[in-house]
């Protein structure tokens, strides 16, 4: 294995890594926000909105991310949506994540004991106050493990953006690898980078879970 090559191309690799982060973290934040909005709409919005959202999000969860991203990137220009690859990637990741986070958060809402909501209305909290002070804090705790899992899934999905020429980690490293015919080194670096990222995220998640343990109701 040619470690000199790896050392030489380290700046490029770091740039690719930064791009992966740029797709992943803002994408994940938007996905959580979108998922929360969708879950709240489904919870409070009445039957029609609930059904429509269920149907739309089900389509996103039922089709491959690659097909969605092709539809967005190659199909977009035909309906006047001429996006740069990174923009399309970010939108794609956010929408895909939204569908899953909506489901995770909806599950969280369903798992909050009814008694807590009733108690909140008994002491005179408004609907919004109940949401902000009772439901959301409890839901946040409940969905933490599933959310960390989803964050990792989203991080791995960003690799797919290399196919629509987003210059993230996978695109960068496979580019270097094919330039120097150094496929083994490239594969090794790729696997290592992603593995470290997932392990770090998983560990951070478990640490956070432990820290928040004390807020858990008995």
């Amino acid at each position: 294995m040619n470690f000199g090559l790896i050392r030489e191309s380290l700046p490029e690799i770091l740039q690719g890594l930064a791009f992966t982060m740029l797709m992943w973290l803002p994408g994940a934040v938007l996905a959580v926000a979108g998922g929360l909005a969708a879950a709240i709409l489904r919870h409070y919005g009445g039957k029609v909105i609930d059904r429509i959202l269920q149907w739309l999000l089900g389509i996103i969860r039922g089709t491959p991310f690659l097909v969605q991203i092709f539809l967005l990137y190659y199909g977009g220009p035909f309906i006047g949506l001429d996006l740069e690859a990174p923009t399309a990637g970010l939108i794609g990741i956010s929408l895909y994540g939204t569908a899953y986070f909506a489901e995770i958060i909806r599950g969280g809402f369903a798992a909050v004991p009814r008694g807590h909501v009733e108690a909140a209305s008994c002491v005179g909290l408004s609907r919004f106050q109940t949401l902000r002070r009772v439901l959301l804090p409890e839901v946040a705790l409940l969905i933490l493990p599933a959310s960390v899992n989803m964050l990792i899934v989203l991080m791995k999905e960003t690799a797919i953006l290399s196919i629509i020429t987003v210059p993230e980690l996978t695109a960068t490293i496979t580019g270097i690898a094919s330039l120097h015919f150094a496929y083994a080194e490239g594969a090794f670096m790729l696997a290592l980078c992603y593995w470290v990222l997932t392990e770090l995220t998983g560990r951070a998640g478990r640490l956070l879970e432990l820290r928040l343990q004390r807020f858990r109701l008995a």
């Binding site: 039922g62 491959p64 594969a187």
Partner: protein, 212 residues
């Protein structure tokens, strides 16, 4: 979209379905072996199992497929594209299924195993008659889930040149310049396949649940 084009997509869908089915089934077998290793009493197999699971769950499937695609030929293993794709999907899904199965085995009620011992069953009998059937039944929902995930993830084999549903759609879209309807149709076909898997899972669950 005309009939010949739609038929091409259908052929792609058949490839996708076949590839996913083979991978999920082979992955289940391999997953059982890895799950066995992770529950072993000695340290070696346990370490191997946790390293395997950590690697295959921690690295994107696309990267794994690229790895296989570039590394296998250099090891002198010149598999046809579709076989390499099946190997890649199998190795990946085995890691997830091993973890799910492990959860199933750990959740077999201890009382049932004690009861088995009480009536004089050997360890082997307990495994075959009590632990394995119950663990499999507990794992079934996540196997169905995994089948759906693999069905969708199999779209990535288009990158290594397998003419699956996604690749076919790509080829069509680049020749008829109608990406929207082509990819939307491909997406709809994936949805249909997923619904079929979910329906099949419900039936299987009812059959397996009979002895409850």
């Amino acid at each position: 979209m005309n009939w010949p084009t739609f038929n091409l997509l259908l052929e792609g869908a058949v490839v996708t379905a076949g590839l996913s089915a083979v991978s999920v089934l082979c992955g289940l077998v391999l997953g059982i072996a890895i799950c066995g290793a992770s529950l072993a009493r000695t340290r070696g197999p346990r370490l191997f199992a946790s390293a395997y699971v950590s690697f295959f769950r921690g690295v994107p499937l696309l990267v794994q497929l690229l790895l296989l695609y570039h590394v296998l030929p250099r090891l002198g293993l010149d598999l046809p594209g579709i076989a390499a794709a099946a190997v890649g999907l199998t190795l990946c899904t085995a890691a997830y299924q091993a973890e799910n199965l492990r959860g199933g085995f750990l959740n077999v009620p201890a009382g049932l195993i004690e009861a088995g011992r009480m009536v004089g069953m050997t360890a082997r009998q307990i495994m075959v008659r009590i632990r394995a059937p119950i663990a499999l039944r507990l794992t079934l929902p996540s196997v169905i889930n995994e089948a759906i995930l693999i069905l969708k993830a199999s779209s990535l084999v288009s990158v290594v040149g397998v003419a699956d549903l996604t690749r076919t759609a790509q080829n069509i879209a680049s020749s008829n310049f109608r990406p929207i309807e082509t990819f939307a149709t491909a997406g709809a076909l994936y949805l249909v396949l997923n619904l079929a898997v979910t329906g099949g899972g419900d039936v299987l669950g009812r059959v397996l649940g009979r002895g409850r």
